[in-house]
């Protein structure tokens, strides 16, 4: 029995609200149950120095948590003077995942930075960030197209992400905080609509996991993928 009463294969309610703030080219509030992340995609002309002159664009991501997004207040990273290892690890993951959605050659020499700021945390902030960040990214790309700054469509596929894990020995999908903090194994899966895998990060928090358990978890992730992509399509008004 899951603490939330959900079925093992049942993700939380997933909501994607576009145009959540007014300045960013793409601004999406993504909610996975009580986890709420604001994903703002910003378009800037130019690319990082090491990419200049290569005729391609760049997608990058930054991640942050408001100090009181969590049960107890965490120190503000800006005040401490550096981003922690967890933050850097997560924003590298988000950036890699979102780059898989885009043909950087077709993006032209633009950089899109996707800021994922956690307003409220209840487990799964990185998977929510990727799922919501992808929608914000699509809006930023549409902005570039609308302004006729790029000609062809650089979007090659939607990407979305969900967590799976072993909780009390059972594979479950979309772990909330009570499950996340008690799970034996925790895995984040980044997927494409066609069933392809972009990133798989599984960690045994206690003990170890078997190939069979890995496969059972991936089944759950694949199943939840259908929901995630449906929500993204609905939010973006994309018909099948």
């Amino acid at each position: 029995m899951r603490p939330s009463g959900r079925q093992p294969d049942q993700p939380r309610e997933i909501r994607l609200t576009r145009d959540y703030t007014r300045h960013a080219e793409g601004s999406v509030l993504v909610e996975f149950g009580d986890t709420k992340v604001l994903c703002n995609a910003s378009v800037e002309a130019g690319v990082p120095r090491w990419l200049r002159g290569k005729g391609q664009g760049w997608i990058t991501a930054e991640y942050g948590m408001l100090p009181r997004a969590t049960h107890t207040r965490g120190g503000r990273e800006a005040a401490r003077g550096k981003q922690g290892g967890r933050t850097l690890e997560i924003q590298r993951l988000i950036g890699r995942s979102l780059r898989a959605a885009v043909n950087l050659k077709k993006l032209g020499e633009f950089t899109i930075t996707v800021d994922c700021d956690v307003i409220q945390a209840d487990g799964g902030t990185r998977t929510a960030s990727i799922t919501g960040g992808c929608v914000a990214l699509v809006d930023a790309i549409r902005y570039l197209q609308r302004k006729k700054l790029i000609k062809s469509d650089p979007l090659q596929q939607l990407v979305a992400s969900i967590s799976v894990g072993l909780f009390k020995g059972q594979p479950v999908v979309d772990l909330d905080y009570p499950e996340d903090s008690g799970a034996d194994t925790d895995m984040n899966v980044v997927m494409t609509e066609g069933g392809g895998l972009i990133e798989v990060q599984g960690t045994a928090e206690a003990g170890q996991f078997s190939r069979a358990e890995l496969n059972a978890m991936l089944e759950l992730a694949e199943g939840a993928g259908a929901t995630l992509f449906a929500r993204q399509r609905e939010a973006l008004g994309i018909r099948d």
Copy 2:
């Protein structure tokens, strides 16, 4: 004529939404028109080292802006490795202002940290932070009372803040971004309900201002104060 069409003495629509997030002891979304700041008040047992053993509490504030709260993306302070001078100046002002609301002796050895994070900026983020932060602070104090962690009520008065300025030679209240960036003089006023002044910070951005202009601006601030305190009382369910 103001860009927004408002009257010189007319503040923007002011909204205070309590319980905006679920973890903080006080959580208020404050909106001054399009300026939106999330104010989370966190209660922690204990006080900073230099106050220990003095039998009093402490109120402090931290301020941040989401990178894309503004028209163009600003660098993330956590990534740059330090808080800028403007940030530090603002959070010192918020902290000082909120301490004026509370009898620290009656607070006991608790620290309340008020995090003011700007979700969307359109001028007046520091005045909104003080006004909304005070409501979050009251909720945090009520939490302490409800949990019977303190006996007497440390709240001595509500505080609120509004900006005033000289825009095209005319005194106006509650400047939005277009006014703020074009004003000759910009002044932030922190007030108590009884008409007392807690902080007055006036700056001539171009030229100088006279004693008469200063007084005209203070009149406008005093007028808007009535609205601010009414909104705070409504939000908190305090009758006169």
Copy 3:
């Protein structure tokens, strides 16, 4: 009765010593009684990146305190690895105030940096810095004129600053450390010779202050202004 025995409207003895060190284009030791600040104005060709090509100059300021300028030794900011919030706040104020003295368009693409380093502190270091920094700034401008690097005179007016406050309920001018640490309200006023206000920063350290008290304090500041500008003119050899 003031601790120093001064009258409420009586500033401390104010001394301005030009050419205090030999390398800076403007070098002034300013003394407000026992408060001693060395103000060095340095001329450098060029302007910050964001001003390039706009055909104007820039004035900026930095502020520091020698570790043992105060009663007890303060940590060296260079050793701690960052400037504190108070330092940043003060140097932003000095910079803004000194820019009000100059027509930046007439300065041409030069940057003048005014370093204000407190040798000995006894209250009022920021007001002394502005008052002495303005004299150093004038010397730096004269250097540019003497070297024929600029044609017209960018100085538009002298600026000076004094603190006022409510000490034991009474408005007083130019607070020294014993008054400063015990004052109910503390206000720094930056003025022009013509009676204009450049910056007003008033803070209730305990309780609040009224509009009437604010005005009484501004009267005192205005009165002391005459002395400040007379000292600046004497030091610079400017006749009326």
Copy 4:
């Protein structure tokens, strides 16, 4: 055909040299072909603050690269003033992996820090670090036992790690630098001797990977595991 001429399932020559330096309680030079990492395990009494009084120990890891371990010189992280995201991500992975080898309760209030410093890099530095770090960790545990500082044996299992990937469409094991920089998918697998998985991190560098490809890569990792554990046992003088 692999650039090195190896078979798809053939890892590089793996060498583990114990007692490589003389001060550390465990000191192992691990070589995966031309990748050379010095793994030093240091025993210190006490645990981090957040673990105190819980009657358990702690294992942590730090990772670094000598500036010229790579083809072109990389900036020294100590000189740049911070560890990069890649470094932090890797050392978090090493620490998590090595903790899986140990029963922290049986370790007592000791901290073992495993420093993995890359002397020469040719791909796979993190997998080499885990594999060699585990041997250094065992030596540090033996030191504690020899000194009679702990009674029972906290080692619960050996852990080792290998990279697998898709290179030109084919699954291969233990990628060297030329393969690593050209691989479509790169995956690091941390395993136990019993065939359990501790960590799986797979990333599509270009395109995506399928469940079938994931399984093919895991097969290769499992196969190489036999070699890794054999080398660890030989080095440690453990018979089956």
Copy 5:
């Protein structure tokens, strides 16, 4: 011929002004010609953590340069966020040298920090800092004795320092900036009154120096030592 017209064995005019500022327990302005350094010695109860409980005191030094102490403005180390290598090297030298003056056992558990801040630089700032810092240190020790905080006299000897070098092939003493920047060899010597050496740091800036030249330079340093110690004794009112 030296640029200043001085004889090879002639140091600049050396002045030591005690009680230069009023808060420090020892406050000395030291001038070696146009080089001016303010040396403030601060007494604090307690010692660094690693010395606690050993029944001895500690002497340490910090060094800084006001940004415009030099011909062109140097960046403020506090603003850059770290002390440079030259600064750290100099303050380590000053600290070591001053510790040689004192019997730390007799000092008791007090720390004396000597801040050496360069007001104006013209070569030889480190030697001036040591020579002036020693006088400030003696005043701090006298303060401890006057307040009866220590019983016996921890001062074991005066220490002083002078630079020597090879300028255009000739050994000269007390190099000023024009000589310093053009010297082939530069050497700083820290001495005791009895002719003992505390520290010798000689560097060939161009070419190399011979044992004979080293000895010739040491002769000059020894000769100047007489002047330095005479000035220290005069300043401190110590008769022979």
Copy 6:
């Protein structure tokens, strides 16, 4: 009697192993007994900004210690976020010393960075770094010549370094850790083959030293120099 049983004028066994790693243009493992330092010389086109266009090259050095090179683990400087004063002081010394080996004009606009990383420490790491770094530097210069990137030979002389000191009152050469930590005086000498001195840094750790003792120590250094240069020549295959 020295702890190691060596004669006063007997240095430890000195070994220089070239081509220790494969990426650097010069890679030397230098051993002074149990002190082991990896010296990697990296060639990069271009020079620091302040040297551009002057038609000369630059030699610089960086120094680091692996955390467990020493008896007890030292904090990793990259993790602490800055290089300590000792590190900066040493790397400045190495850089200055190695520049004495080279005619920078003949080097052309190349920068050679010599990274000295201490694998195992037993006293004398800076002297080993200079001695081994010089051999790595020669290999980097030979690389430039082999690639025909420079025409003439910029090497003007070999440089080497050894420590000397007063241990229990007696002058000894090449102090190992037990001697180093107990010596009254410690001196590092950087020499040329012709008997010239490049750098002399002598420090009285306890008491003071006389001119006679200084000379006795320099004699020992000169004697050991013969061994050092012989080892460098052997390693480099240079005949007399």
